[in-house]
Amino acid sequence: MAENPIAVQLIGVNKWYGEFHALRDIDLEVRRGERIVICGPSGSGKSTMIRCVNRLEEHQSGEIIVDGVELTNDLKKIDEVRREVGMVFQHFNLFPHLTVMENLTLAPIWVRKMSKKQAEEIAMNYLKRVKIPEQSKKYPGQLSGGQQQRVAIARALCMNPKVMLFDEPTSALDPEMVKEVLDTMVELAHDGMTMLCVTHEMGFARQVANRVVFMDAGQIIEANAPNEFFAHPQHERTKLFLSQILH
């Protein structure tokens, strides 16, 4: 299959929670290898938007196309997209009853139908990349938050995804553990991974993002290259937001 230059495309996406209009006419195109940081006040719809990309949330109108596959009610297409899109959550969502190694090999074995041996080899590689190979036999509850989040990143990578979604990956961490997770993400960015990242880590945005997208009230207010975005915010709402988070 020819490589599709566009990894993720959202066209006129709308979503409602009951009466609440959570996403309003979202248009966003993410090219392969592009790194997008999404920021905005809480309740602005940033998490909802990236959760729509792997259909953890259902959108009601508009199109979402991931790697050439349009997300509809077709369960097969949803599974197809989820196989190719990795996600890292704020609260890790590791499986507490499985060891780190089992967390990493579960999906490759059951979804990719890999042999256990092969899956474990791949898992070990990624554990080395996130620098915790020695923890493979432990349970998630025995690791620190930063280690758990790195396991979660490795778990997503084991599926060899084309796109990675990060939903506030450092928000639930103790301050001293934020850096180790961000370092892992920076490394991933340098390897050319397509990333959509909801985060308030503006240093990270400056360092790796191709584009920063600012959202408020369910819509995209402003999107720009990080230098421009931070130096010359255009919209009033963006200026206010930046003035509040950059002290």
């Binding site: 792997n54 953890l56 989820r82 499986f95 579960l106 979804v111 509850g141 997503a156 599926m159 979604l165």
Partner: protein, 458 residues
């Protein structure tokens, strides 16, 4: 001691304080007693009360069961002199308590089943024992079939499967039997298997999924069921023993183990069904669970035994014990479903999302992520149900099936053993047997709880 210079407000520690042993007052036997038995006035009062209670109950019990008990003798005469338990009575009736009226010459059959059951169950219960998969297949797949054949004698008469009810195959092929296997039934079985596989293949194809895979599964199921049917159909030359002749501990264990083994998977399915997003599945599960929970077990057993035959077409009869078994299994499945549902509700949404984001499907998520956690959470509830079920089996007495307690009561009527203490001895014996089983289950569940949670958190 402290190098804290409080008056200046500036402090830099010079030496790190090393960990020291706790003071003597909280260590050792004295420390333990002080902490746990005599820590407050209320505690002291409770300690004294408990000691008094133990003193009140235990010595008389020991006197009755051991010190004053009669141990030897072969009739009531031996027991008339003492005020203690009449153990010769138990000894004389023991085989009846275990086998009921199972023919004495055939008791090697339940003995084999007891031994085989213990042999297969023990390694299954030990987490570290190897070959769990094979062990489970043997215990849950082969053992029931072997038990059925050995205990009943097998050689069931199968006449029609599905097609035979519609098309008179007997007329077409004639009645030929090979070692009691009726040819027409097995032609019927093979045809039905092929037909079902074909239909499933067509349906699966219609839904756009892999038809071949679905058809293969159907054929596999038919093959396994077929093997079990052949085993029960074939004539091994065993003397048939009607379930009416079964009794005692044998019946208690058959009812309890069947109930336990079937109620858990059924309960899991019902719990999943009750949380399903498909209205038909959900409604069915809710109606099923609420119906069985709303009806007392005695009513279920009564209905199954005395009313059901009235509704069935004339001539068809289902074995009495089997009817009770089905009643008990469905009844406990409904309870089990609610226990499992409780566990499912405790699983955070993030677990489902984590699994979904990895591309795991519903059954994969359920079997690999959700159910292992949910079941671990509700081990106490599950075992509570098992223990309740074990003791409830004694209700089959109502429908003239003589379990352990039934046999006990039957034995009380024997005038050869009519003594003032026979009744107490019998019930003490029954109590001890039930206690051994229930207490073992309880301890085992606690062990498993510790085992599965060991080392998973800080």
């Amino acid at each position: 001691m402290s190098d804290f210079a409080s008056h200046t407000g500036v402090f830099v520690r010079k030496a790190i304080i090393q960990s020291a042993p706790p003071p003597l007052a909280i260590r050792g036997l004295m420390g333990w007693a002080r902490e746990n038995l005599f820590s407050s006035w209320f505690n002291i009062a409770m300690t004294i009360l408990s000691a008094a209670l133990i003193f009140l109950v235990v010595p008389p019990l020991l006197r009755f069961l051991i010190i004053d008990a009669t141990w030897d003798g072969d009739s009531r005469e031996a027991c008339l002199k003492s005020t203690g338990a009449c153990w010769p009575f138990i000894k004389a009736k023991l085989s009846q308590f275990i086998y009921g009226f199972y023919p004495a010459a055939e008791r090697w059959r339940p003995n084999i089943i007891f031994a085989l059951g213990a042999l297969l169950l023990a390694p299954l219960l030990i987490p570290r024992a190897p070959l769990k998969k094979l062990n489970a297949i043997l215990f849950f797949g082969f053992f029931p079939v072997i038990s059925l054949v050995l205990l009943t004698g097998g050689n069931f008469d199968f006449h029609h499967f599905i097609i035979g009810w519609i098309i008179p195959l007997d007329l077409i092929f004639g009645i030929t039997e090979l070692r009691a296997l009726r040819l027409t039934f097995w032609i019927d079985y093979l045809l039905s298997a092929t037909l079902t596989a074909g239909i499933v293949y067509a349906i699966a194809k219609g839904f756009g999924s892999q038809g071949r895979h679905a058809a293969k599964t159907v054929i596999l199921i038919f093959a396994f069921v077929g093997l079990a049917l052949i085993a029960t159909d074939i004539d091994f030359g065993l003397i048939p023993v009607e379930t009416r002749a079964w009794g005692g501990l044998l019946v208690t264990l058959v009812v309890a183990i069947t109930g336990i083994v079937t109620s858990l998977p059924l309960g899991i399915l019902l719990a999943l069904g009750r949380r399903s997003e498909m209205p038909a599945v959900r409604s069915f599960s809710i109606v099923f669970i609420e119906f069985w929970r709303g009806v007392p077990l005695i009513t279920v057993l009564f209905f199954a035994t005395y009313m059901l035959p009235l509704f069935l077409p004339g001539g068809t009869s289902i074995d009495g014990l089997l009817r009770a078994l089905i009643g008990v299994a469905l009844f406990s499945a409904a309870y089990m479903a609610e226990v499992v549902r409780g566990g499912l509700q405790a699983i955070p949404k993030g677990q489902y999302e984590g699994a979904a984001a990895l591309g795991l499907g519903y059954w994969q998520t359920t079997s690999q992520v959700v159910m292992p956690q949910a079941l671990t959470l509700v081990i106490p509830g599950i075992v509570n149900n098992f223990i309740g079920l074990f003791k409830d089996t004694t209700l089959v007495l109502i429908v003239a099936i003589f379990d352990l307690l039934g046999q006990l009561r039957a034995a009380f009527t024997d005038p050869n053993w009519a003594t003032p203490t026979t009744l107490f001895t019998g019930f003490a014996f029954g109590g001890i047997v039930y206690f051994i089983f229930c207490f073992s289950m309880s301890r085992y569940s606690q062990y498993i709880e510790r085992y599965v949670s060991a080392g998973k958190s800080h």
